[in-house]
């Protein structure tokens, strides 16, 4: 990575939002093309962070903090972007743990991995009623609904979401979690299954590129 990005890279890796934003703005005001700032520095860096987490060389807090810095930078550099250039998101995703299930760390890991891979993710939390997921997916104009279900008695709620979304050609429903298998996901009518956060990112890339 070119050396002019050293300070920015350091700020993102250390989760220092203030320095990250200040450095990004400084670079742009010094003549740096804002689009190139993302394509040459931020996106490769986030890819690298995601890779490192998948090998557990870094951990969830570092990944979340890096993602927060990038979100902040994106907001700060918006005024410098032309409208057609303001398209940093690769896709919009609603993520939730389904009704009856309070587990959130698995979901949070998937969310952080998706964010560092450039997706715009709205997290609805845990124990989310089916109708709230469906309603929010429509309001957010989501491309994908990603559902987490760690407990067997929560799985029927995944089927409910699939049923609600039947006929909606745009929104795909994907699922992951302990008791879910590829066979179950297919039988339930979902559009895909991720065994873990790494799988989930690959699945989302696959769905949104096809």
């Amino acid at each position: 990575m070119p050396s002019q990005y050293d300070t920015l890279e350091k700020a993102i890796l250390s989760g220092d939002q203030e320095s990250g934003i200040a450095e990004a703005v400084k670079l742009i005001e010094g003549g740096q093309d804002p689009v190139l700032l993302f394509t040459d520095c931020i996106e490769p860096l986030l890819d690298d962070i995601g890779e490192k987490f998948s090998r557990l060389e870094i951990f969830l807090p570092e990944m979340v903090n890096a993602s927060k810095v990038v979100k902040g930078i994106h907001g700060a550099v918006k005024p410098y972007l032309k409208n057609e250039e303001d398209a940093a998101s690769k896709g919009k995703i609603i993520i939730a743990t389904v009704s009856g299930d309070l587990h959130d760390i698995g979901k949070n890991i998937v969310k952080a991995m998706l964010e560092v891979n450039g997706y715009d993710v709205q997290d609805l939390g845990v124990d989310v009623p089916t109708q709230a997921i469906v309603k929010q997916a429509k309001e957010f104009d989501a491309d994908i609904i990603a559902l987490s279900a760690l407990m067997l008695p929560s799985l029927p709620f995944v089927k409910d979401v699939v049923e609600y979304m039947e006929g909606n050609q745009k929104v795909k429903v994907i699922v992951g979690g302990g008791p879910v298998s590829p066979e179950w996901a297919e039988e339930a009518g979902t559009d895909g299954y991720g065994n873990n956060a790494i799988d989930a990112v690959a699945l989302v890339k696959d769905i949104l590129s096809s």
Partner: protein, 458 residues
């Protein structure tokens, strides 16, 4: 009824503690809190040595965990408040923790007790798949495969994949029916195996308070059984969880909860994980009035706890507890290997030996094939675990480390390939409820190999 005053105190704290956004709790209280104590107490965990040999490090982990918990608290998702306890309160409460309990009935009753490092007394074995899904037709024979083993002290049911042909749906009549069905089938399996008074842990099939509590009473889970519930990772609760606790206390039951920190999550790597596991088990007693405190820390991608990144902090945490408290601690063995693989048996050796010399009171499992593959478990791996407990209780930490490293080298490469093995019906004769020749031979071979490493099965 016991602990009414404490229960009301917890409820009071959940209503009066500081209001906080959950994300801020995760970041400021858990992640930053752990980073602080890891630095302040100089927690530097070995990257290679699996069985900790350093008592001073174990003591620092304990001190760090108490300090961390006193600053962090436990988050109540229902009220969005932090249930706080000062360091002095934590230490005072731990002073009154029980150090022994009898579970089960009649001649099937067993005594659990707090253990110390290198304690020559054998820990208890909860022989079970621990809620792994199973088809109705295999429920009873698979449970008998555990209960019939003399090495198994207490048990727990697998989880039904459906109830009378219906998907089990939480907070519905179907969940209540499945809770009752789980108890009925478990009692029947224990009766058929000739150990009707054996304690069992419940209720595994249900997750809601109403589902669990419906079958915890006359005709269902007995007072002498183990009454379990999980708290939410990391260090979170809700009124649904406290409702379960309240009911168990009203029944004067054995409170047997668990906390399962996620490796690489809010606690970060091994240093933070050692502190977090310890703090979570302390919280189970301080906030949830646990008789016995349990954990099953989990790998975020492989969903096991038999990799070095979890064996090392788990062992250290159990040593911290054994050296500094009288808590009865238990660890769930969640291997990647399933029945019909040697991987599973080598994983059993590593985790069981590590936990035994580190002062754990009870081991749970094995939850074979990560507990997520329908029917991939059998009683033979529980028999092996029980034999390992007896053999490992004769070891000291230095010898244990040598054996654990040998076992680990045998399965390390399999942790990512995850050989889930075979379904119960393919490794046991369903009529005799005995292992197939192939599975039995594998067990014999690994047991002989382990004996050669210094485990005495006499």
């Amino acid at each position: 009824m016991k602990h009414t005053t404490r229960l009301l105190d917890i409820v009071e704290r959940s209503l009066r503690g500081p209001l906080m956004d959950e994300e801020d709790f995760n970041d400021q209280h858990v992640t930053q809190g752990l980073a602080r104590v890891v630095k302040e107490f100089d927690i530097k965990v070995s990257q290679d040595q699996i069985v900790n040999q350093d008592d001073a490090l174990a003591d620092r982990v304990w001190e760090a965990a108490v300090d961390f918990l006193s600053e962090c608290g436990v988050y109540c998702q229902t009220t969005n408040r932090v249930i706080e306890f000062s360091k002095k309160e934590i230490i005072d409460i731990l002073r009154y923790a029980p150090d022994t309990v009898i579970v089960g009935q009649g001649t099937d009753a067993v005594q659990e007790y707090a253990r110390k490092i290198d304690d020559p007394r054998r820990p208890l074995l909860m022989g079970s798949s621990i809620g792994t899904p199973i088809e109705d037709e295999y429920f009873i024979p698979s449970m008998i495969s555990y209960i019939q083993e003399p090495e198994v002290d207490v048990t727990m049911a697998p989880t039904l994949t459906n109830i009378y042909g219906y998907d089990i749906r939480t907070r519905s009549p179907l969940e209540i029916l499945s809770s009752w069905r789980e108890v009925e089938l478990t009692l029947e399996a224990m009766r058929r195996a000739g150990r009707p008074g054996m304690a069992f842990t419940g209720i595994g099939s249900s997750i809601s308070d109403v589902g669990q509590l419906s079958a915890d009473g006359p005709g269902g889970l007995r007072q002498t059984d183990l009454h379990t519930f999980g708290i939410v990772s990391e260090l979170k609760t809700s009124y649904e969880i406290l409702n379960k606790l309240t009911h168990i206390l009203q029944r004067d039951g054995v409170v047997d909860p668990y906390a399962n920190p996620i490796y690489g999550g809010l606690g970060g790597g091994m240093d933070g994980q050692a502190v977090l596991i310890t703090a979570a088990m302390i919280a189970l007693n301080v906030v949830f009035m646990a008789t016995c405190v349990g954990t099953s820390p989990t790998h975020p991608f492989n969903f096991n706890d038999t990799g070095k990144e979890l064996l090392i902090p788990s062992g250290l945490s159990f040593q911290a507890i054994a050296r500094n408290s009288k808590l009865m601690s238990n660890l769930t063995n969640t291997p990647v290997g399933g029945p019909g693989t040697k991987t599973l048996l080598y994983e059993c050796i590593a985790l069981t030996v590590m936990m035994t010399v580190s002062g754990g009171s009870r081991i749970l499992g094995p939850r074979s094939a990560t507990g997520s593959i329908t029917g991939h478990f059998s009683g033979l791996e529980a028999r092996f675990t029980g034999e390992l407990l007896t053999a490992a209780a004769k070891l000291d930490r230095a010898k244990a480390e040598e054996i654990v490293q040998k076992a680990y080298a045998k399965y390390e490469a399999d942790l990512t390939t995850q050989p889930y093995g075979k379904h119960f019906k393919d490794v046991y004769d369903l009529k005799t409820v005995q292992p197939t020749k192939e599975w039995q031979t594998m067990y014999d071979e690994v047991k002989n190999e382990a004996a050669g490493w210094g485990l005495s099965f006499d």
